[in-house]
């Protein structure tokens, strides 16, 4: 068994695909570990953030049919993922006009078509990258999130619904409720203690996690959907990877430090020194 196993959270996985400089920095950090693992809930988060935004851009390019208006509307909106969309346009879509480019409607439509076709390649490739190339294993034996196991698929013209609502017996076959009951009951006290003592404004996600765990423990017939799991996303990722991982890597120190403290794992903060000077 290797002595240093890194558990990667969604922020790290997304940053590895955001830009070259970030990817290089993360690879440098990961070279210190023997194994790299991620979990099914992390894959769910990856689908809900990076892949979902790619699908949103694809849908807009298809319906509007022009590049510049779609780019401007999606990156300048007040949406919480507007910055991520900017990264997708610059680093993943990566279509460029020739130097003799003259902004005409026809040329703009051509760029939109190229961007759409590029995304049709990139979206399945991102999922394949996460599951087969990015880590040594995606741990899914304990929760086995059904939404995470569904690769994004293009239908006739558009991609199918990325994250349909989880319905037990229909499209949900995971064991998240049993997992929370088995693992979280013993941790709830420590979690509540940290919430009482720690800075209140920084522990919003932990508070949401605590509420979710309490409701699962109190209601035997509760049926969680992927949105509920995402409310406790970081904690579930850490719990799912606890048996194997020795270290947890994330850019989000405020949430992950207390989680690692509770689960007695070492936390490695991923930062980008090269970006501080910009």
């Amino acid at each position: 068994m290797p002595t240093r196993v890194a558990l990667l959270d969604n922020t790290v996985q997304v940053d590895r695909r955001k830009s070259k400089t970030r990817s290089c920095r993360i690879e440098e950090l990961l070279s210190q570990f023997e194994w790299k693992v991620s979990t099914s809930i992390c894959l769910l988060e990856f689908k809900a953030t990076l892949i979902q935004e790619c699908i949103t851009i694809h849908d807009s390019l298809r319906s509007v049919g022009m590049y510049t208006p779609v780019h401007d509307r999606l990156t300048e909106s007040m949406h919480r993922q507007a910055k991520l969309r900017g990264h997708i346009f610059q680093n993943l879509i990566n279509v460029f006009a020739p130097s003799s480019f003259d902004v005409t409607e026809e040329r703009d439509r051509r760029l939109a078509e190229k961007a759409r076709l590029r995304l049709e390649m990139v979206i399945p490739a991102l999922y394949t990258w996460f599951t087969k190339k990015s880590v040594d294993a995606v741990l899914r034996d304990e929760i086995g999130c059904s939404r995470a196991l569904e690769p994004p698929q293009k239908k006739r013209v558009a991609f199918g619904v990325n994250l349909p609502k989880c319905e037990k017996g229909k499209n949900k076959f995971c064991r998240v409720e049993e997992f929370i009951r088995a693992k979280a009951a013993t941790l709830l006290e420590r979690l509540e203690a940290i919430l009482r003592e720690g800075p209140q404004e920084r522990l919003t996600q932990l508070r949401r996690t605590c509420e979710l765990f309490r409701s699962v423990l109190q209601e035997p017939g509760i049926d969680l959907s992927h949105n509920d799991c995402r409310r406790a996303g970081d904690f579930l990722i850490a719990l799912e990877g606890r048996e194997i991982a020795t270290h947890a890597l994330s850019t989000n120190a405020s949430d992950w430090e207390p989680i690692c403290q509770i689960l007695q794992r070492e936390f490695v903060r991923v930062d980008y020194p090269a970006e501080r000077d910009i």
Partner: protein, 210 residues
């Protein structure tokens, strides 16, 4: 109409003391799984039949007779093939301008011509649906706004040669080109800044008594 030469000439006489013919050595058995799908004369392993899945997969990749280019697309196919030939010729010329693993600045005209031919290929109405456009976008994703190196050139040469011999272009072709990106050591998610290394460092210095 006689079918055999023996019908016309009669059976040849064989003298009794004629030595017995030497046995013809048998050809080694070749076990190739593409016999029934492509109609080629290939022997199959005894007791082995190609599975439905295998046949479907081969047909999907454009190897089966079903996927021969239809006659209505003959003109488009000719045009597609001509563009591929032109691209191949340009890439061969470009190979002479590789210095130290990088395409030199003297080849800027050739690079522009290749980019222009790729745009022409993008507009060529050949292949299933938008598959040819996807192919061109996959190629351009590695070549646009990049300093071309030997790796780029090898990828471009491989992609063009692959396209030239394809009877049809479909979604699998685009996927194959996408796979070739990694096979040639390029990054399918290369990002805008393909190389962030510092090449030259400049220093600002105040000049006294200017």
């Amino acid at each position: 109409m006689p079918e055999h030469i023996e019908d016309v000439l009669g059976a040849p006489d064989t003298p009794r003391d004629y030595p017995a013919p030497r046995p013809v050595p048998r050809e080694p058995e070749i076990y190739l799984p593409s016999a029934s799908a492509s109609g080629e004369h290939v022997r199959t392993m005894p007791g082995w039949e190609p599975t439905e899945t295998g046949a479907r997969e081969r047909q999907k990749r454009g190897w089966g007779p079903k996927y021969q280019p239809p006659i209505e697309q003959a003109e488009e196919r000719r045009r597609y093939r001509r563009i591929c030939d032109d691209l191949d010729a340009e890439v061969r010329q470009l190979e002479q301008f590789v210095v130290g693993g990088v395409v030199s600045d003297e080849a800027v005209g050739l690079v522009a011509e290749i980019q222009n031919l790729l745009e022409t290929l993008y507009d060529c109405p050949f292949g299933e649906g938008e598959s040819l456009k996807s192919v061109v976008v996959a190629i351009q994703s590695q070549l646009n706004n990049a300093a071309w190196s030997e790796q780029h050139l090898a990828f471009l040469r491989g992609a063009i040669q692959h396209l030239r011999v394809r009877p049809i272009v479909n979604d699998c072709t685009a996927q194959e080109i996408h796979d070739m990106i990694e096979e040639h050591g390029l990054d399918p998610f290369r990002g805008t800044v393909s190389d962030s290394d510092c090449v030259v460092t400049y220093k600002l210095q105040r000049v006294e008594d200017a």
